[in-house]
C-alpha cells in the first residue's frame, strides 16, 4: 500500500515546504525580465536621470543636474498624494534654457504649454484605490525628522529614480512589502495609547513594546489597525 502513498506524501510535503518558504521570503517578485519594473509609455519620455542624476564633471552634457526630488515633486511633503508637477513648473526653468529648446521632447513640452493643455502623464506607482498611503507623513519622518537624504527616503518605495529615464516601478508596493518595512526596519512610533501589555487588537505588525514611562508614550511598531492603510 505504501507505494501508492509515496507520491501524495511527497506532493504534500513539497507544497508545505514551498509555501513556508514563500511566506518567509515575502517579496513578491517583479515580473519584468530586466527586473527594473514594468515600462509605462508616457506622453513625453521624461529623463529623470538628466534632472536628478549625478553630476558628471568631465562632460556636463552627459551627467545629471542633481536636482532635489522635492524641487519638482513639491506636493509629496504637503499632501497624502504626490501628484505630478504642474506644467508651469517645467516651464519655469525651460523657458530660460535656450540650449535645449530645439530638442524634440522640449518642443513637445512647449506645444502643451502653448495649447494650455495639461500633459496626460500615466501613473507609474498606482496603488489600488482602497489604500490610504500618506506621502506627507513619510517625507516628514525621514527627511525632516531623521534628516536622511531625499533620494534615499524617496527611494525606499520609488527605487533608484535618478538612474531612470521614465520612472519605472521597481518595488512591489504590495501589502506584505509595506509590512516588511514597517515591521523590521522602520518601526513607527505610535502616538500614545496604542495598546500595550498584551492588549492589542486584531492586527498589528509587531507586538507592541512596553516602555517604562508608559503613561507618556508607549511605543508600538507599525500601524496597528487596518484602517490606517485601508480606506
Amino acid at each position: 500500500m505504501y507505494r501508492y502513498l509515496r507520491l501524495p506524501i511527497l506532493l504534500v510535503g513539497l507544497f508545505l515546504a514551498v509555501s513556508a518558504y514563500a511566506a518567509n521570503n515575502s517579496q513578491p517578485a517583479l515580473t519584468t525580465e530586466d527586473g527594473l519594473g514594468p515600462q509605462v509609455q508616457q506622453p513625453i519620455e521624461f529623463p529623470h536621470n538628466r534632472h536628478a542624476g549625478l553630476h558628471d564633471a568631465s562632460d556636463p552634457n552627459k551627467g545629471g543636474m542633481e536636482i532635489n526630488c522635492q524641487y519638482c515633486h513639491t506636493y509629496a511633503r504637503r499632501s497624502a498624494v504626490a501628484g505630478i508637477p504642474p506644467l508651469q513648473k517645467c516651464m519655469g526653468c525651460h523657458n530660460s534654457i535656450d540650449s535645449v529648446k530645439d530638442r524634440p521632447r522640449i518642443k513637445e513640452l512647449f506645444k502643451y504649454w502653448e495649447a494650455k493643455k495639461p500633459i496626460p502623464w500615466k501613473k507609474v506607482h498606482d496603488l489600488p484605490d482602497f489604500v490610504r498611503f500618506n506621502h506627507e507623513r513619510h517625507v516628514k519622518r525621514f527627511v525632516e525628522q531623521q534628516n536622511r537624504p531625499v533620494q534615499e527616503a524617496c527611494g525606499y518605495c520609488h527605487g533608484d529614480v535618478k538612474e531612470m529615464t521614465v520612472a519605472r516601478r521597481q518595488k512591489p508596493l504590495a501589502m506584505g512589502w509595506c509590512a516588511s518595512c514597517h515591521e523590521k526596519d522602520h518601526p513607527v512610533t505610535a502616538e500614545g495609547g496604542t495598546p500595550v501589555d498584551g492588549q492589542a487588537y486584531w492586527y498589528s505588525f509587531q507586538k507592541p513594546v512596553k516602555t517604562s514611562d508608559s503613561a507618556l508614550a508607549p511605543k508600538a511598531k507599525g500601524p496597528n489597525d487596518c484602517w490606517q492603510c485601508h480606506k
Partner: protein, 454 residues
C-alpha cells in the same frame, strides 16, 4: 422474519451486487436525467447570481442568509446517519447494518459535499473565498480563528476527508472483488488502482480490521462535533432564537433524524432500482424505521425543551421570535415542521406500516421535508424578527434563484449518489458474506443445541 437468508450462496452475492454495476432498471436513467436537469438549473442560477450579485437571491439587509444556510444545515445533518450506521453500529456489533451501511456512508460523503457547495454559493465574493483558509502569506494575516464559521469550515473539511477515507477503506476488499470480476478495460484499471493491491491475505485482513476500527472510532466524535459546531454558528451568536444552550444536542438529534429518514428513502429506491431485495430486506428496514421513530421522539422532546426554555425564560425578545414563528408569516411552515417532524413519524409506531413500502416511502419524504423546514425555521424567523423592530422584514420570500439552488442541490446529490451506486458496489459484499456466515454459524449452533436438547 429473518434479516437475511442464511442459505444465500457467496457466489450469488457477488453476482447480484456486481450486476448493479452493469444493469440497473430503466428507472435509474430516468432519475439520473431528472437529477442532471435539476443540477443544471441550480448551476445556471449560481452562474447568474455570481455575475449579477447576491441580490438576485432576494436576500436583503436583515434577511442575509436565507435558504442557503438553511439548506446547508439540512445537508450537513443528513450526513450524520451514514456515520451512525457505519461507525456507531459497527462498534456496537449490530450486524444488520452490513447490507446497508455502504450506501449510507456514501450518502454521508455526498451530502457533505453538497453542504460544502452551499457555503460557497452563499458567499458574496466567492472568488475571494481563499481568504478564509489559513495559508501562509506574505501579508502575515490569518483568518479569524474566533469565528464559528471558521470552526465550521474546518470541522466540515475534516469530517468530509475522514468520511471519504472511511468509505474508501471499507470498500477495499469489495473493490478487489470487482477488480477480479471485471473484463479488461478502463474500469478494471480503476478498480485495480483503487483496490490498492488487496489480495485478501491474513496480514491484510488484520491491518484492514484495525484501520477500519480506528477510523470508525475517530469518526464518531467528529460526527457529533460537526453538527455541534454548526449549531455553534447560531448558538454562539447573540440573536434571539439562536442564542440557545440546547442547540448542539438539538442539532445532532435533528441531524440523525433527517439522516435516518433519508436512509429510508434511499433504501427503498436502491432496493427497487438495483434489485437488492435479497439484501435490503424488510426486517432490516423495520429496524431502521424503529430507530428513526426513537430519534424522532428524541427530537420532539428536544424541540419541546427548546420552546419551554424560551417560553419560561425572561427573554422577551426570544419569546417574540417564538410567537412570531407560531403565528406570523412563517406559521404555515413552522406548523408544517411540527406536523412532519413530530406527528408524521407516529405512523412508524404501527407495526403494519413498519414494512409497508409505499407508506414508508411517502412518510420518509415527509420527514425529510419536515427537517428541511426545521432548518429554515431556525434561520429565517430570527432574521426577520430580530432585536431591532425597525428592520423587521416584510419581503423575505426567497427568489427563484434560491429555490433553484435548493433544487439543484438535490439534483447534485442524487447525481453523485447514483453515479456512485453504478460505479461502486453499494452493498458491501464481504460484509454480507460475513453476516450470512455468522448467521449460518449461529443457526447451526442453535440447531445443534436444539438437537442436543432432544
Amino acid at each position: 422474519m429473518k434479516d437475511i437468508r442464511e442459505d444465500i450462496a457467496w457466489a450469488k452475492i457477488n453476482q447480484d451486487v456486481l450486476k448493479s454495476l452493469e444493469a440497473p432498471r430503466k428507472l435509474y436513467w430516468v432519475i439520473l436525467f431528472f437529477a442532471l436537469l435539476a443540477f443544471g438549473f441550480g448551476l445556471g442560477c449560481e452562474v447568474y447570481q455570481y455575475q449579477t450579485g447576491m441580490g438576485v437571491a432576494n436576500l436583503n439587509n436583515p434577511q442575509v442568509w436565507g435558504l442557503y444556510i438553511a439548506t446547508f444545515i439540512f445537508w450537513i445533518g443528513m450526513s450524520h446517519s451514514g456515520t451512525l450506521l457505519s461507525a456507531i453500529l459497527h462498534l456496537m456489533h449490530a450486524d444488520w447494518r452490513k447490507p446497508i451501511y455502504r450506501f449510507a456512508e456514501a450518502m454521508t460523503t455526498f451530502s457533505l459535499m453538497t453542504a460544502g457547495l452551499f457555503v460557497m454559493v452563499h458567499i458574496g465574493r466567492l472568488w475571494m473565498f481563499y481568504y478564509a483558509l489559513p495559508y501562509p502569506n506574505d501579508r502575515g494575516i490569518w483568518p479569524n480563528f474566533q469565528s464559528p464559521l471558521l470552526w465550521d469550515a474546518m470541522a466540515i473539511f475534516t469530517y468530509l476527508s475522514s468520511s471519504v477515507l472511511f468509505l474508501f477503506v471499507g470498500m477495499i476488499p469489495d473493490l478487489a472483488i470487482v477488480r477480479d470480476n471485471m473484463h479488461a478495460g478502463w474500469r478494471k484499471k480503476l478498480y485495480t488502482l483503487l483496490a490498492l493491491g488487496w489480495e485478501g491475505t491474513d496480514r491484510q485482513w488484520r491491518n484492514f480490521r484495525v484501520t477500519y476500527l480506528t477510523i470508525a472510532c475517530f469518526l464518531i466524535p467528529l460526527a457529533v462535533s460537526v453538527h455541534s459546531i454548526v449549531a455553534s454558528d447560531f448558538a454562539m451568536s447573540q440573536q434571539p432564537g439562536w442564542h440557545v444552550t440546547s442547540f448542539p444536542p438539538y442539532f445532532v438529534a435533528g441531524a440523525l433524524y433527517s439522516g435516518c429518514a433519508a436512509i429510508i428513502t434511499l433504501f427503498i429506491m436502491l432496493r427497487y432500482v438495483f434489485k437488492f431485495e435479497e439484501y435490503m430486506t424488510l426486517p432490516i428496514l423495520k429496524k431502521i424505521v424503529r430507530l428513526t421513530f426513537a430519534i424522532a421522539m428524541i427530537w420532539t422532546y428536544l424541540n419541546a425543551v427548546e420552546f419551554a426554555s424560551v417560553w419560561y425564560s425572561h427573554d422577551a425578545v426570544s419569546k417574540d421570535v417564538l410567537i412570531q414563528k407560531m403565528t406570523g408569516n412563517y406559521a404555515p411552515f413552522w406548523w408544517g415542521m411540527i406536523f412532519c417532524g413530530s406527528v408524521v413519524p407516529l405512523v412508524f409506531a404501527f407495526k403494519r406500516f413498519q414494512t409497508n413500502i409505499p407508506v414508508l416511502f411517502a412518510t420518509s419524504l415527509l420527514l425529510n421535508l419536515g427537517m428541511w423546514l426545521e432548518r429554515w425555521m431556525i434561520v429565517a424567523p430570527t432574521f426577520s424578527h430580530g432585536y431591532y423592530p425597525w428592520t423587521w422584514d416584510h419581503d423575505q420570500w426567497p427568489s427563484m434563484v434560491q429555490w433553484g439552488m435548493v433544487f439543484g442541490s438535490f439534483g447534485w446529490f442524487t447525481l453523485l449518489f447514483l453515479i456512485f451506486c453504478k460505479v461502486f458496489p453499494s452493498v458491501s459484499m464481504y460484509e454480507v458474506k460475513e453476516m450470512v456466515y455468522h448467521r449460518t454459524l449461529h443457526l447451526k449452533k442453535s440447531e445443534a443445541a436444539e438437537e442436543g436438547a432432544h
